[in-house]
């Protein structure tokens, strides 16, 4: 039996997303395929698979990315699919523990990718909000006000997300000063 779940996770909620996928797996729902906001599950054994996701440095079709995906598959994991630069893997729990990163340096590398992405999105949004707000100020318009309000909310959420990711980066760096 299969089911489709529509859910949204923001860029800074990758940990939550991974946790959710593994919780679904624990209930017997194994992720089969992914698309934007769309997860397809298949009923299987409880906890059959362990899921991991990662934001890649390059697009999944880039040779480096493809080499990386193949490398991970060779270690016994299965590539499920991708959404933009996010790739999803799974490995049978019976085959042993499955992590993508075993030291702080690599966790930091991945964290930096999210920080970079969020920073870009933050400024792109700002590049819209500033002129649009000025336009609204000079020529008030209800529809425009609504659109700006929505974007402002998104910008606020992204700011919070960015702060969270930066806090995580600081924490990792402090940890790195002590140990690997």
């Amino acid at each position: 039996m299969r089911k489709i779940v529509h859910k949204n996770f923001f860029v800074w909620q990758a940990d939550l997303e991974e946790k959710w996928l593994n919780e679904m797996s624990a209930q017997g729902w194994q992720l089969l395929s992914v698309a934007l906001f769309r997860y397809e599950f298949e009923q299987g054994d409880k906890g059959e698979y362990c899921y991991r996701l990662e934001l890649l440095e390059d697009w999944p079709t880039h040779p480096n990315s493809m080499e990386y995906i193949r490398f991970v598959e060779e270690t016994g994991a299965e590539f499920i699919g991708r959404v933009k630069r996010w790739v999803y893997f799974r490995k049978r729990t019976a085959d042993g523990a499955f992590e993508l990163f075993s030291d702080i340096k690599s966790q930091l590398t991945v964290n930096m990718r999210s920080v970079q992405l969020l920073t870009v999105l933050f400024f792109v949004e700002l590049a819209y909000l500033l002129p649009a707000s000025y336009m609204l100020y000079t020529a008030p318009h209800l529809l425009l006000a609504g659109v700006i309000a929505l974007n402002a909310v998104l910008e606020l959420l992204m700011s919070i997300g960015l702060v969270k990711m930066l806090a995580k980066r600081s924490q990792l760096k402090r940890e790195l000063a002590i140990r690997e």
Binding site: E54, Y68, V72, E99, S106, E180
Partner: protein, 103 residues
């Protein structure tokens, strides 16, 4: 050579690659050598292998015809780095034994 401190993962990878191995083989070998204490994750290992190749400490070999798995092997430079690291670790052990009075 500058004062380099290797991570545990890199040191074990260098040791393992005295025999040509592919990615998963390295993970298994390191886990075995360290009695399950050091478990390299795929993403971490991939990054380490890339960096070590860039530094010339390891090199890749074409895989066997049946599989496309890339194998890696330590180079002369890599060997020198590992030897230097062993000397550094010996020094740490000597000082540690002095101060901590543990056999």
């Amino acid at each position: 050579m500058e004062n380099i401190v290797l991570t545990e993962a890199v040191f074990y990878v260098l040791l393992s690659l005295h025999t040509p191995l592919h990615g998963y083989g390295i993970m298994q070998q390191v886990s075995e050598l360290s009695h399950g204490r050091v478990n390299l994750a795929a993403g971490t290992l991939y990054g380490a292998l890339s960096t070590m190749q860039d530094k010339g400490w390891i090199e890749s070999l074409p895989g066997e015809q049946s599989s496309r798995k890339k194998e890696y092997r330590i180079t002369t430079v890599g060997r020198a780095v590992a030897v230097a690291e062993l000397a550094r670790l010996r020094e740490l052990v000597a000082h540690g034994s002095q101060f901590l009075e543990v056999k």
